[in-house]
Protein backbone atom coordinates (compact mmCIF):
# COMPACT_ATOMS: atom_id res chain seq x y z
CA UNK A 1 0.00 0.00 0.00
CA UNK A 2 1.32 3.43 -0.98
CA UNK A 3 1.87 6.04 1.78
CA UNK A 4 -0.94 8.29 0.44
CA UNK A 5 -3.32 5.31 0.45
CA UNK A 6 -2.33 4.48 4.06
CA UNK A 7 -2.99 8.11 5.01
CA UNK A 8 -6.39 8.07 3.34
CA UNK A 9 -7.31 4.79 5.07
CA UNK A 10 -6.40 6.16 8.48
CA UNK A 11 -8.33 9.40 7.79
CA UNK A 12 -11.62 7.62 7.15
CA UNK A 13 -12.21 6.33 10.72
CA UNK A 14 -11.08 9.69 12.10
CA UNK A 15 -13.54 11.49 9.82
CA UNK A 16 -16.36 9.22 10.95
CA UNK A 17 -15.44 9.73 14.61
CA UNK A 18 -15.49 13.52 14.22
CA UNK A 19 -18.79 13.33 12.33
CA UNK A 20 -20.37 11.29 15.13
CA UNK A 21 -19.05 13.77 17.72
CA UNK A 22 -20.70 16.63 15.83
CA UNK A 23 -24.00 14.76 15.80
CA UNK A 24 -23.86 13.59 19.40
CA UNK A 25 -22.93 17.03 20.73
CA UNK A 26 -25.59 18.68 18.54
CA UNK A 27 -23.14 21.07 16.93
CA UNK A 28 -25.02 24.40 16.53
CA UNK A 29 -24.01 24.85 12.89
CA UNK A 30 -25.11 21.31 12.13
CA UNK A 31 -28.44 21.72 13.94
CA UNK A 32 -29.16 25.05 12.20
CA UNK A 33 -28.44 23.57 8.78
CA UNK A 34 -30.52 20.47 9.41
CA UNK A 35 -33.43 22.52 10.77
CA UNK A 36 -33.44 24.81 7.74
CA UNK A 37 -33.27 21.83 5.38
CA UNK A 38 -36.22 20.15 7.07
CA UNK A 39 -38.23 23.36 7.12
CA UNK A 40 -37.61 24.18 3.45
CA UNK A 41 -38.16 20.67 2.11
CA UNK A 42 -41.10 20.00 4.44
CA UNK A 43 -42.84 23.21 3.39
CA UNK A 44 -42.16 22.49 -0.29
CA UNK A 45 -43.66 19.01 0.10
CA UNK A 46 -46.75 20.39 1.82
CA UNK A 47 -47.24 22.89 -1.01
CA UNK A 48 -46.67 20.17 -3.61
CA UNK A 49 -49.11 17.87 -1.79
CA UNK A 50 -51.84 20.54 -1.76
CA UNK A 51 -51.69 20.98 -5.52
CA UNK A 52 -50.15 17.73 -6.72
CA UNK A 53 -52.40 15.23 -4.94
CA UNK A 54 -55.55 17.04 -6.06
CA UNK A 55 -54.25 17.43 -9.63
CA UNK A 56 -53.08 13.82 -9.84
CA UNK A 57 -56.34 12.41 -8.48
CA UNK A 58 -58.33 14.66 -10.79
CA UNK A 59 -56.30 13.53 -13.82
CA UNK A 60 -57.03 9.91 -12.89
CA UNK A 61 -60.78 10.44 -12.66
CA UNK A 62 -61.62 12.77 -15.57
CA UNK A 63 -61.41 12.24 -19.32
CA UNK A 64 -60.78 15.16 -21.66
CA UNK A 65 -59.36 15.91 -25.07
CA UNK A 66 -55.59 16.25 -24.95
CA UNK A 67 -55.28 14.22 -21.74
CA UNK A 68 -52.61 11.96 -23.24
CA UNK A 69 -50.47 15.00 -24.07
CA UNK A 70 -50.88 16.35 -20.53
CA UNK A 71 -49.84 13.00 -19.07
CA UNK A 72 -46.85 12.83 -21.40
CA UNK A 73 -45.72 16.28 -20.24
CA UNK A 74 -46.27 15.31 -16.62
CA UNK A 75 -44.25 12.12 -16.99
CA UNK A 76 -41.50 14.05 -18.76
CA UNK A 77 -41.36 16.53 -15.89
CA UNK A 78 -40.55 13.65 -13.53
CA UNK A 79 -37.00 13.90 -14.81
CA UNK A 80 -36.83 17.67 -14.44
CA UNK A 81 -33.20 18.59 -13.66
CA UNK A 82 -32.98 20.57 -10.45
CA UNK A 83 -30.53 23.08 -11.92
CA UNK A 84 -33.04 23.87 -14.66
CA UNK A 85 -35.69 24.52 -12.02
CA UNK A 86 -33.20 26.63 -10.10
CA UNK A 87 -32.38 28.65 -13.19
CA UNK A 88 -36.05 29.17 -14.09
CA UNK A 89 -36.94 30.30 -10.56
CA UNK A 90 -33.83 32.50 -10.49
CA UNK A 91 -34.93 34.22 -13.71
CA UNK A 92 -38.44 34.72 -12.30
CA UNK A 93 -37.29 36.11 -8.96
CA UNK A 94 -34.22 38.09 -9.99
CA UNK A 95 -34.56 41.88 -9.87
CA UNK A 96 -35.18 42.12 -13.59
CA UNK A 97 -37.54 39.12 -13.59
CA UNK A 98 -41.35 39.26 -13.57
CA UNK A 99 -41.48 38.46 -9.85
CA UNK A 100 -38.41 40.49 -8.90
CA UNK A 101 -40.53 42.92 -6.90
CA UNK A 102 -41.21 40.18 -4.36
CA UNK A 103 -37.58 40.48 -3.26
CA UNK A 104 -37.30 36.90 -2.12
CA UNK A 105 -34.32 35.70 -4.16
CA UNK A 106 -31.63 34.23 -1.86
CA UNK A 107 -34.18 33.57 0.87
CA UNK A 108 -35.67 30.29 2.13
CA UNK A 109 -38.94 31.28 0.43
CA UNK A 110 -37.25 31.11 -2.98
CA UNK A 111 -35.86 27.71 -2.07
CA UNK A 112 -39.34 26.51 -1.11
CA UNK A 113 -40.70 27.67 -4.47
CA UNK A 114 -37.92 25.90 -6.37
CA UNK A 115 -38.33 22.65 -4.47
CA UNK A 116 -42.12 22.79 -4.81
CA UNK A 117 -41.78 23.06 -8.59
CA UNK A 118 -39.26 20.24 -8.53
CA UNK A 119 -41.42 17.75 -6.62
CA UNK A 120 -44.85 18.80 -7.88
CA UNK A 121 -44.68 16.58 -11.00
CA UNK A 122 -43.55 13.63 -8.87
CA UNK A 123 -46.48 14.02 -6.49
CA UNK A 124 -49.02 14.58 -9.28
CA UNK A 125 -47.80 11.77 -11.55
CA UNK A 126 -47.51 9.16 -8.80
CA UNK A 127 -50.81 10.18 -7.19
CA UNK A 128 -52.49 9.88 -10.59
CA UNK A 129 -51.10 6.37 -11.00
CA UNK A 130 -52.15 5.35 -7.49
CA UNK A 131 -55.70 6.63 -7.95
CA UNK A 132 -56.00 5.21 -11.50
CA UNK A 133 -55.01 1.76 -10.24
CA UNK A 134 -57.52 2.00 -7.39
CA UNK A 135 -60.25 3.09 -9.80
CA UNK A 136 -59.66 0.03 -11.97
CA UNK A 137 -60.55 -2.01 -8.90
CA UNK A 138 -63.35 0.08 -7.40
CA UNK A 139 -64.37 2.78 -9.86
CA UNK A 140 -67.58 0.99 -10.84
CA UNK A 141 -68.54 0.58 -7.21
CA UNK A 142 -68.00 4.28 -6.47
CA UNK A 143 -69.98 5.32 -9.55
CA UNK A 144 -72.71 2.93 -8.51
CA UNK A 145 -72.79 4.59 -5.08
CA UNK A 146 -73.27 7.96 -6.72
CA UNK A 147 -69.77 9.37 -6.29
CA UNK A 148 -68.96 12.17 -8.71
CA UNK A 149 -65.54 13.16 -9.99
CA UNK A 150 -64.44 15.05 -6.88
CA UNK A 151 -65.81 12.50 -4.40
CA UNK A 152 -64.23 9.60 -6.33
CA UNK A 153 -60.85 11.34 -6.41
CA UNK A 154 -60.89 12.19 -2.71
CA UNK A 155 -62.19 8.76 -1.63
CA UNK A 156 -59.50 6.99 -3.63
CA UNK A 157 -56.80 9.20 -2.09
CA UNK A 158 -58.21 8.26 1.31
CA UNK A 159 -58.41 4.59 0.32
CA UNK A 160 -54.79 4.61 -0.86
CA UNK A 161 -53.48 6.88 1.90
CA UNK A 162 -50.50 4.62 2.64
CA UNK A 163 -49.44 4.65 -0.98
CA UNK A 164 -49.94 8.43 -0.91
CA UNK A 165 -47.72 8.63 2.18
CA UNK A 166 -45.07 6.72 0.27
CA UNK A 167 -45.43 9.15 -2.63
CA UNK A 168 -44.89 12.04 -0.25
CA UNK A 169 -41.86 10.30 1.21
CA UNK A 170 -40.39 9.94 -2.27
CA UNK A 171 -41.10 13.62 -2.90
CA UNK A 172 -39.48 14.61 0.38
CA UNK A 173 -36.46 12.47 -0.41
CA UNK A 174 -36.10 14.19 -3.77
CA UNK A 175 -36.51 17.65 -2.22
CA UNK A 176 -34.15 17.26 0.71
CA UNK A 177 -31.46 15.55 -1.37
CA UNK A 178 -31.34 18.02 -4.25
CA UNK A 179 -28.58 20.58 -4.41
CA UNK A 180 -28.75 22.41 -7.76
CA UNK A 181 -31.94 24.43 -7.36
CA UNK A 182 -31.40 25.55 -3.77
CA UNK A 183 -27.80 26.48 -4.54
CA UNK A 184 -28.92 28.76 -7.40
CA UNK A 185 -31.94 30.45 -5.78
CA UNK A 186 -30.70 30.31 -2.18
CA UNK A 187 -27.11 31.31 -2.76
CA UNK A 188 -25.81 29.06 0.05
CA UNK A 189 -25.59 31.98 2.51
CA UNK A 190 -24.31 30.85 5.91
CA UNK A 191 -27.04 30.98 8.53
CA UNK A 192 -29.67 32.10 6.02
CA UNK A 193 -30.02 29.70 3.11
CA UNK A 194 -27.37 27.07 3.77
CA UNK A 195 -28.97 23.64 3.82
CA UNK A 196 -27.52 20.17 4.22
CA UNK A 197 -26.80 19.44 0.57
CA UNK A 198 -25.23 22.83 -0.20
CA UNK A 199 -23.16 22.55 2.97
CA UNK A 200 -21.97 19.08 2.02
CA UNK A 201 -20.93 20.38 -1.41
CA UNK A 202 -19.16 23.40 0.10
CA UNK A 203 -17.41 21.60 2.96
CA UNK A 204 -16.26 18.79 0.67
CA UNK A 205 -14.71 21.32 -1.70
CA UNK A 206 -13.02 22.95 1.32
CA UNK A 207 -11.78 19.58 2.54
CA UNK A 208 -13.81 19.70 5.80
CA UNK A 209 -15.00 16.14 5.45
CA UNK A 210 -16.28 15.50 9.02
CA UNK A 211 -19.05 18.13 8.76
CA UNK A 212 -19.96 16.98 5.24
CA UNK A 213 -20.07 13.38 6.41
CA UNK A 214 -22.07 14.25 9.53
CA UNK A 215 -24.65 16.01 7.38
CA UNK A 216 -24.74 13.08 4.99
CA UNK A 217 -25.44 10.72 7.89
CA UNK A 218 -28.15 13.03 9.24
CA UNK A 219 -29.71 13.14 5.78
CA UNK A 220 -29.90 9.35 5.68
CA UNK A 221 -31.15 9.24 9.26
CA UNK A 222 -33.98 11.69 8.56
CA UNK A 223 -35.28 9.65 5.63
CA UNK A 224 -34.95 6.42 7.61
CA UNK A 225 -36.84 8.02 10.49
CA UNK A 226 -39.67 9.03 8.19
CA UNK A 227 -39.88 5.49 6.83
CA UNK A 228 -40.04 4.06 10.33
CA UNK A 229 -42.68 6.61 11.38
CA UNK A 230 -44.91 5.70 8.45
CA UNK A 231 -44.45 1.97 9.07
CA UNK A 232 -45.29 2.37 12.78
CA UNK A 233 -48.32 4.55 12.08
CA UNK A 234 -49.55 2.08 9.52
CA UNK A 235 -49.16 -0.89 11.84
CA UNK A 236 -50.46 0.82 14.96
CA UNK A 237 -53.45 2.59 13.50
CA UNK A 238 -54.30 0.59 10.42
CA UNK A 239 -57.50 1.39 8.65
CA UNK A 240 -59.05 2.79 11.82
CA UNK A 241 -56.80 5.83 11.73
CA UNK A 242 -59.44 7.74 9.85
CA UNK A 243 -62.71 8.21 11.70
CA UNK A 244 -65.34 10.09 9.80
CA UNK A 245 -67.67 12.38 11.67
Amino acid sequence: MRPDERLAMSAVPETFATAFRLIVHADPALVRTVALSLAVSGTACLCAAAFGLAAGAWLAVVRFAGQRAVLLVLDTLLALPSVVVGLAVYLLLSRSGPLGSWGILFTPAAMVIAQTILVLPIVAALARQVVADALRDGGDQLRSMGAGVLASAMLMLLHERWAVATVMLIAFGRAIAEVGAVMIVGGNIDGVTRVMTTTIALETSKGDLPLALALGLVLLFVVALLNVAIALFRRGSGPLAVELR
Binding site: G138, D140, S144, G146, L155, L158, H159, P239, L240, L244
Partner: protein
Amino acid sequence: MTVLPASTLIALSDASVAYGPVQAVRNATMRVAQGEFIAVVGANGSGKTSLLRLLHGVVAYRGSREVSRPSGVQAMVFQRPFLLRLSVWNNVRIALWLAHRHSTSASRNERAEQALRRVGLAALRDRPARSLSGGEQQRLALARGWAVRPDILFLDEPTASLDPSAKNDVEALLADFAADGMTLVMSTHNLGQAKRLASRVVYMDEGRIDIDLPTSDFFAAGAPGRAGRFLKGELSWSLDG
Protein backbone atom coordinates in the same frame (compact mmCIF):
# COMPACT_ATOMS: atom_id res chain seq x y z
CA MET B 1 -90.63 9.93 -23.67
CA THR B 2 -93.53 7.84 -22.40
CA VAL B 3 -95.16 8.04 -18.98
CA LEU B 4 -94.30 4.92 -17.04
CA PRO B 5 -97.00 3.03 -15.15
CA ALA B 6 -96.95 3.90 -11.45
CA SER B 7 -95.47 0.58 -10.41
CA THR B 8 -92.71 0.60 -13.02
CA LEU B 9 -89.30 1.72 -11.76
CA ILE B 10 -87.22 1.15 -14.90
CA ALA B 11 -88.20 0.45 -18.48
CA LEU B 12 -85.78 -0.60 -21.21
CA SER B 13 -86.80 -0.47 -24.82
CA ASP B 14 -84.56 -1.80 -27.56
CA ALA B 15 -81.51 -0.98 -25.42
CA SER B 16 -78.07 -2.30 -26.35
CA VAL B 17 -74.65 -2.25 -24.76
CA ALA B 18 -71.41 -2.73 -26.67
CA TYR B 19 -67.82 -2.89 -25.47
CA GLY B 20 -65.94 -2.06 -28.63
CA PRO B 21 -66.85 -4.70 -31.19
CA VAL B 22 -68.46 -6.97 -28.56
CA GLN B 23 -72.25 -6.70 -28.27
CA ALA B 24 -72.92 -7.49 -24.60
CA VAL B 25 -76.65 -6.69 -24.60
CA ARG B 26 -78.75 -6.70 -27.78
CA ASN B 27 -82.04 -4.86 -28.08
CA ALA B 28 -83.22 -5.50 -24.53
CA THR B 29 -86.81 -4.61 -23.73
CA MET B 30 -88.06 -5.16 -20.19
CA ARG B 31 -89.61 -3.46 -17.19
CA VAL B 32 -88.77 -3.62 -13.52
CA ALA B 33 -91.78 -3.09 -11.26
CA GLN B 34 -91.88 -2.06 -7.63
CA GLY B 35 -91.40 -4.99 -5.23
CA GLU B 36 -90.22 -7.52 -7.79
CA PHE B 37 -87.31 -9.87 -7.24
CA ILE B 38 -85.91 -10.59 -10.69
CA ALA B 39 -83.29 -13.25 -11.27
CA VAL B 40 -81.26 -12.80 -14.45
CA VAL B 41 -79.87 -16.18 -15.46
CA GLY B 42 -77.79 -17.41 -18.35
CA ALA B 43 -74.49 -18.96 -19.27
CA ASN B 44 -71.15 -17.21 -18.80
CA GLY B 45 -70.80 -14.33 -21.22
CA SER B 46 -74.52 -14.19 -21.94
CA GLY B 47 -74.71 -10.53 -20.84
CA LYS B 48 -76.20 -10.83 -17.34
CA THR B 49 -73.83 -8.38 -15.69
CA SER B 50 -74.09 -5.95 -18.59
CA LEU B 51 -77.88 -6.06 -18.36
CA LEU B 52 -77.63 -5.20 -14.66
CA ARG B 53 -75.25 -2.31 -15.42
CA LEU B 54 -77.60 -1.13 -18.16
CA LEU B 55 -80.58 -1.19 -15.80
CA HIS B 56 -78.46 0.56 -13.15
CA GLY B 57 -77.38 3.21 -15.66
CA VAL B 58 -73.64 2.91 -15.11
CA VAL B 59 -72.76 1.86 -18.65
CA ALA B 60 -73.11 3.60 -22.02
CA TYR B 61 -75.97 2.26 -24.11
CA ARG B 62 -78.04 2.77 -27.24
CA GLY B 63 -81.83 2.70 -27.17
CA SER B 64 -84.19 3.78 -24.44
CA ARG B 65 -83.85 3.54 -20.66
CA GLU B 66 -86.51 5.29 -18.61
CA VAL B 67 -86.52 5.64 -14.86
CA SER B 68 -89.66 6.60 -12.96
CA ARG B 69 -87.69 8.55 -10.31
CA PRO B 70 -84.51 9.92 -11.90
CA SER B 71 -83.44 11.38 -8.57
CA GLY B 72 -84.07 8.11 -6.73
CA VAL B 73 -81.31 6.06 -5.18
CA GLN B 74 -80.11 2.80 -6.68
CA ALA B 75 -77.42 0.54 -5.31
CA MET B 76 -75.42 -2.38 -6.63
CA VAL B 77 -73.65 -5.21 -4.87
CA PHE B 78 -70.86 -6.61 -6.99
CA GLN B 79 -69.66 -10.20 -7.12
CA ARG B 80 -66.39 -9.10 -5.51
CA PRO B 81 -67.44 -6.08 -3.47
CA PHE B 82 -65.03 -3.17 -3.45
CA LEU B 83 -64.55 -2.06 0.13
CA LEU B 84 -62.58 1.03 1.04
CA ARG B 85 -59.55 0.53 3.31
CA LEU B 86 -61.51 1.88 6.24
CA SER B 87 -63.50 0.39 9.07
CA VAL B 88 -66.72 -1.52 8.52
CA TRP B 89 -68.55 1.44 10.03
CA ASN B 90 -66.97 4.01 7.74
CA ASN B 91 -67.72 1.97 4.64
CA VAL B 92 -71.43 2.12 5.43
CA ARG B 93 -71.18 5.76 6.49
CA ILE B 94 -69.57 6.79 3.21
CA ALA B 95 -72.25 5.01 1.17
CA LEU B 96 -74.88 6.90 3.17
CA TRP B 97 -73.04 10.19 2.75
CA LEU B 98 -72.85 9.71 -1.03
CA ALA B 99 -76.51 8.76 -1.33
CA HIS B 100 -78.03 11.18 1.19
CA ARG B 101 -75.71 14.18 1.49
CA HIS B 102 -78.44 16.44 2.79
CA SER B 103 -79.52 14.22 5.66
CA THR B 104 -78.13 14.82 9.12
CA SER B 105 -75.09 13.06 10.49
CA ALA B 106 -77.21 11.63 13.32
CA SER B 107 -79.72 10.08 10.93
CA ARG B 108 -76.89 8.61 8.85
CA ASN B 109 -75.33 7.13 11.98
CA GLU B 110 -78.64 5.63 13.04
CA ARG B 111 -79.20 4.11 9.61
CA ALA B 112 -75.65 2.73 9.52
CA GLU B 113 -76.19 1.07 12.89
CA GLN B 114 -79.47 -0.43 11.70
CA ALA B 115 -77.79 -1.76 8.56
CA LEU B 116 -74.93 -3.40 10.44
CA ARG B 117 -77.32 -4.93 12.97
CA ARG B 118 -79.47 -6.23 10.14
CA VAL B 119 -76.62 -8.14 8.50
CA GLY B 120 -75.13 -9.26 11.82
CA LEU B 121 -71.96 -7.16 11.64
CA ALA B 122 -72.66 -4.69 14.46
CA ALA B 123 -70.02 -6.30 16.65
CA LEU B 124 -67.42 -5.89 13.91
CA ARG B 125 -68.08 -2.22 13.18
CA ASP B 126 -64.58 -1.09 14.12
CA ARG B 127 -62.78 -3.84 12.23
CA PRO B 128 -60.96 -2.98 9.01
CA ALA B 129 -63.44 -3.88 6.28
CA ARG B 130 -60.82 -5.69 4.25
CA SER B 131 -59.93 -7.99 7.13
CA LEU B 132 -63.40 -9.57 7.07
CA SER B 133 -64.01 -13.02 5.58
CA GLY B 134 -65.49 -13.28 2.08
CA GLY B 135 -68.98 -13.92 3.45
CA GLU B 136 -68.71 -11.04 5.92
CA GLN B 137 -67.50 -8.72 3.17
CA GLN B 138 -70.50 -9.65 1.04
CA ARG B 139 -72.80 -9.03 4.02
CA LEU B 140 -71.15 -5.65 4.51
CA ALA B 141 -71.75 -4.88 0.84
CA LEU B 142 -75.40 -5.83 1.35
CA ALA B 143 -75.58 -3.63 4.45
CA ARG B 144 -74.13 -0.76 2.43
CA GLY B 145 -76.71 -1.35 -0.29
CA TRP B 146 -79.63 -1.72 2.08
CA ALA B 147 -78.63 1.27 4.21
CA VAL B 148 -79.17 3.81 1.45
CA ARG B 149 -82.82 2.74 1.03
CA PRO B 150 -82.52 2.15 -2.70
CA ASP B 151 -85.47 2.06 -5.06
CA ILE B 152 -83.73 -0.95 -6.58
CA LEU B 153 -80.88 -3.07 -5.30
CA PHE B 154 -78.87 -4.75 -8.06
CA LEU B 155 -76.90 -7.86 -7.14
CA ASP B 156 -74.25 -9.24 -9.48
CA GLU B 157 -73.81 -12.91 -8.58
CA PRO B 158 -73.67 -12.03 -4.89
CA THR B 159 -72.96 -15.58 -3.72
CA ALA B 160 -70.71 -16.80 -6.53
CA SER B 161 -67.51 -16.82 -4.52
CA LEU B 162 -68.93 -17.82 -1.12
CA ASP B 163 -68.89 -21.09 0.77
CA PRO B 164 -72.25 -22.83 1.40
CA SER B 165 -72.68 -21.36 4.89
CA ALA B 166 -71.99 -17.79 3.77
CA LYS B 167 -74.20 -18.39 0.74
CA ASN B 168 -77.08 -19.37 3.01
CA ASP B 169 -76.54 -16.25 5.14
CA VAL B 170 -76.65 -14.00 2.08
CA GLU B 171 -79.71 -15.77 0.66
CA ALA B 172 -81.52 -15.36 3.98
CA LEU B 173 -80.75 -11.64 3.93
CA LEU B 174 -81.97 -11.28 0.36
CA ALA B 175 -85.19 -13.08 1.24
CA ASP B 176 -85.60 -10.65 4.17
CA PHE B 177 -85.04 -7.64 1.92
CA ALA B 178 -87.59 -8.96 -0.56
CA ALA B 179 -90.09 -9.62 2.20
CA ASP B 180 -89.73 -5.97 3.21
CA GLY B 181 -90.82 -4.95 -0.28
CA MET B 182 -87.42 -3.96 -1.62
CA THR B 183 -87.06 -4.31 -5.38
CA LEU B 184 -84.16 -6.60 -6.28
CA VAL B 185 -82.54 -7.56 -9.57
CA MET B 186 -79.95 -10.31 -9.25
CA SER B 187 -77.78 -12.08 -11.78
CA THR B 188 -76.96 -15.65 -10.88
CA HIS B 189 -75.68 -18.91 -12.26
CA ASN B 190 -77.49 -20.75 -9.54
CA LEU B 191 -80.90 -21.88 -10.79
CA GLY B 192 -81.86 -23.21 -7.36
CA GLN B 193 -81.21 -19.77 -5.93
CA ALA B 194 -83.34 -18.18 -8.63
CA LYS B 195 -86.11 -20.67 -7.91
CA ARG B 196 -85.94 -20.10 -4.15
CA LEU B 197 -85.73 -16.33 -4.16
CA ALA B 198 -87.02 -14.71 -7.34
CA SER B 199 -90.53 -13.80 -8.38
CA ARG B 200 -89.51 -13.52 -12.02
CA VAL B 201 -86.74 -15.02 -14.14
CA VAL B 202 -85.08 -13.41 -17.14
CA TYR B 203 -83.02 -15.81 -19.22
CA MET B 204 -80.28 -14.28 -21.36
CA ASP B 205 -78.58 -15.88 -24.31
CA GLU B 206 -75.81 -14.24 -26.32
CA GLY B 207 -76.81 -10.78 -25.13
CA ARG B 208 -80.52 -11.18 -25.84
CA ILE B 209 -83.37 -11.52 -23.38
CA ASP B 210 -84.60 -14.90 -24.52
CA ILE B 211 -87.22 -15.66 -21.87
CA ASP B 212 -88.88 -13.40 -19.29
CA LEU B 213 -91.40 -15.28 -17.15
CA PRO B 214 -92.70 -15.54 -13.58
CA THR B 215 -90.44 -17.96 -11.72
CA SER B 216 -93.02 -20.74 -11.43
CA ASP B 217 -93.76 -20.59 -15.17
CA PHE B 218 -90.08 -20.50 -16.11
CA PHE B 219 -89.31 -23.68 -14.23
CA ALA B 220 -92.61 -25.43 -15.07
CA ALA B 221 -92.81 -24.63 -18.75
CA GLY B 222 -90.00 -26.85 -19.96
CA ALA B 223 -88.19 -24.02 -21.65
CA PRO B 224 -87.43 -24.47 -25.34
CA GLY B 225 -84.10 -24.48 -27.17
CA ARG B 226 -80.97 -23.25 -25.51
CA ALA B 227 -82.90 -22.18 -22.37
CA GLY B 228 -83.96 -25.80 -21.94
CA ARG B 229 -80.37 -26.96 -22.34
CA PHE B 230 -79.27 -24.34 -19.80
CA LEU B 231 -81.86 -25.61 -17.33
CA LYS B 232 -80.48 -29.11 -17.78
CA GLY B 233 -77.01 -27.78 -16.94
CA GLU B 234 -75.64 -28.22 -20.44
CA LEU B 235 -74.82 -24.53 -20.95
CA SER B 236 -73.70 -23.54 -17.50
CA TRP B 237 -70.10 -22.61 -18.25
CA SER B 238 -69.80 -22.22 -21.98
CA LEU B 239 -71.67 -21.18 -25.06
CA ASP B 240 -70.43 -23.86 -27.39
CA GLY B 241 -72.93 -25.46 -29.67
